[in-house]
């Protein structure tokens, strides 16, 4: 192990130890005196082994890997004010070839402060998980929660090859209203427009440099009771102008428009979900025709004895390479992926997961490859 790798491990362990000590002090304080009533620090963490037949894989080579150390705090503030903070220590991959130096980084995943206007409406400001589809807000960095080891590739995080903005800096209104046998759910948001920096989406945490505003929303209906109990179906859409900068040079300006739908349902021991996104992107200030692209996945799993969950997922992405948006994103390539796996819940807080997938990227002159992932994921 070279010195750089040792330094990386030491850095990660040091940061993890620091967070652990912070958590320990917090809990100690609560045990001795109820001074910090309501302050709860939770965490997700995962480690895994990956094997791939892909050469120069942007997500790394075969071997043992550290996943995320995700810590989040949702303090019980007085009155109607709410807050949610989430930090992640992770190893960035999907960076430009040769730039992955194995150094861990700390990302502020979420830093949002909200106001509970009513049971039907909460308004947030800050950085939040962009509310589209099901997966992005339901699981995100909570590896122990999600059924599989890996997210669907096209909704991976921005720095892991995803083609959708997983995070947003801005304003977010969220809530639900009782209606019929269930309730209407809604999310509406606006925020800093994204840009592409050297192949990855950047949500502009330090200000809207490009002065482009992202607008979007998610509207759905959740059945509560009856034959369709737990079924949540809905639509989502967003639009923004995304500029690409390669080596600091503006290379493309694209008006991105996305619309689609999603569902999630847990009838009995089944879990069924799917998401669809249709893109209609056009070069900004251009009379050129727009470019259409689509992505989708469907996934099904069934839990035996409350803890053994075999699953299968199909992913498809047909991304137009004449589109300036996909042309410059490292993960903006068409692909097909078929995945099977099994999850075993060793305890309610510990999951062992095994996924195997076959991915075909030959549509864009790349190649097909197979991957195997084994993950241990915990929450506490």
């Amino acid at each position: 192990m070279n010195m750089r790798a040792v330094a990386a491990w030491c850095g990660t362990i040091g940061q993890a130890t620091g967070w652990w000590l912070l958590g320990s002090l917090t809990f100690t304080g609560k045990a001795q005196a109820d001074i910090v009533e309501g302050l709860i620090i939770h965490a997700f963490a995962d480690v895994y082994f990956s094997s791939t037949t892909q050469q120069q894989a942007p997500s790394g080579q075969t071997g043992f890997k550290l996943g995320n150390l995700d810590l989040y705090i949702a303090p019980d503030l007085t009155g109607r004010v709410r807050a949610l903070m989430e930090d992640v220590v992770e190893f960035d991959d999907w960076v430009p070839p040769g730039a992955n130096n194995g150094q861990p980084s700390v990302d502020i995943e979420r830093l949002q402060v909200g106001y509970l206007v009513s049971d039907e409406l909460t308004v947030w400001i800050g950085r939040f998980h962009t509310p589209y589809g099901y997966w992005n807000t339901a699981y995100h960095h909570g590896a122990q929660l999600q059924p599989t080891v890996m997210r669907p590739q096209f909704i991976a995080f921005e720095d892991h090859g995803g083609v959708l903005p997983a995070h947003m800096d801005g304003l977010w209104a969220s809530g639900h209203v009782a209606a019929g046998p269930g309730r209407i759910t809604y999310d509406a948001y606006l925020g800093n427009g994204q840009r592409i920096l050297d192949g990855a989406l950047d949500m502009q945490n330090e200000g809207n440099v490009d002065s482009h505003t992202a607008l979007g929303g998610r509207f759905g209906y959740e059945f509560l009771g009856g034959a369709l109990d737990s079924l949540w179906i809905g639509v989502h859409a967003f639009s923004e102008q995304v500029n690409d900068f390669t080596n600091g040079v503006l290379t493309a300006e694209t008006d991105v428009k996305v619309a689609g739908g999603f569902f999630h349902w847990t009838p009995g021991d089944w879990e069924l979900m799917g998401e669809f996104y249709g893109f209609d992107n056009r070069a900004h200030d251009s009379n050129a025709p727009s470019h259409s692209s689509t992505t989708w996945y469907v996934e099904a799993d069934y839990t035996f004895y409350g803890r053994i969950t075999p699953l299968a997922r199909v992913e498809r992405a047909s991304l137009n390479q004449n589109d300036g948006y996909f042309q410059y994103l490292l993960g903006g390539k068409s692909y097909t992926r078929n995945l099977v796996g099994v999850r075993y819940d060793l305890t309610p807080q510990t999951a062992l997961k095994l996924d195997a997938d076959h991915t075909n990227e030959t549509l864009n002159g790349a190649k097909a490859y197979n991957e195997l992932h084994f993950q241990v994921a915990i929450r506490f």
Binding site: E37, I40, L116, L145
Partner: protein, 138 residues
């Protein structure tokens, strides 16, 4: 008395004894109690303990869990087991930033907290003392 009549008599006695014993075998009664200033309906209880209802008018609701009576409450009122309930709150906290109910150790602690805390709601398995508002008995 012939043998057949004796068997029938024994069966009747045994069945009667079993029926008399059933109430003591059943789960304990659960009383959902609220702070005197909190106006709720019984339909609100499930929403409060699953994080969907947080306000009663202008008052922020403060639900309390009772370790000593939690399993009975979850079974009778929410139709959930402890694992599913804890997982529900893990997801709720992670996704929506809502804190799970504060945990009290027993009936006495819950009663004290409900009496002294505006917006508090809790549940106990013993008969509520005088001065406590009972929302519903399960």
């Amino acid at each position: 008395m012939n043998p057949t009549a004796t068997k029938v008599l024994h069966a009747v006695v045994a069945t009667s004894a079993l029926l008399c014993a059933l109430p003591s075998l059943a789960l304990a009664d659960i009383y959902v109690i609220v702070n005197s200033g909190l106006i709720l309906t019984t339909d609100d209880i499930k929403g409060i303990y699953t994080g969907d209802k947080q306000l009663a008018g202008s008052i922020k609701i403060k639900p309390l869990d009772n370790s000593a009576a939690k399993n009975e409450f979850l079974s009778k009122v929410l139709q959930l087991d402890a694992v599913r309930y804890d997982t529900l709150w893990t997801k709720k906290s992670f996704r929506d930033g809502i804190s799970p109910p504060s945990v009290k150790a027993n009936d006495e602690e819950v009663v004290a907290a409900v009496k002294s805390t505006a917006g508090a709601i809790g549940y106990i398995s013993s008969t509520p003392p005088v001065g406590v508002t009972v929302l519903k008995k399960f």
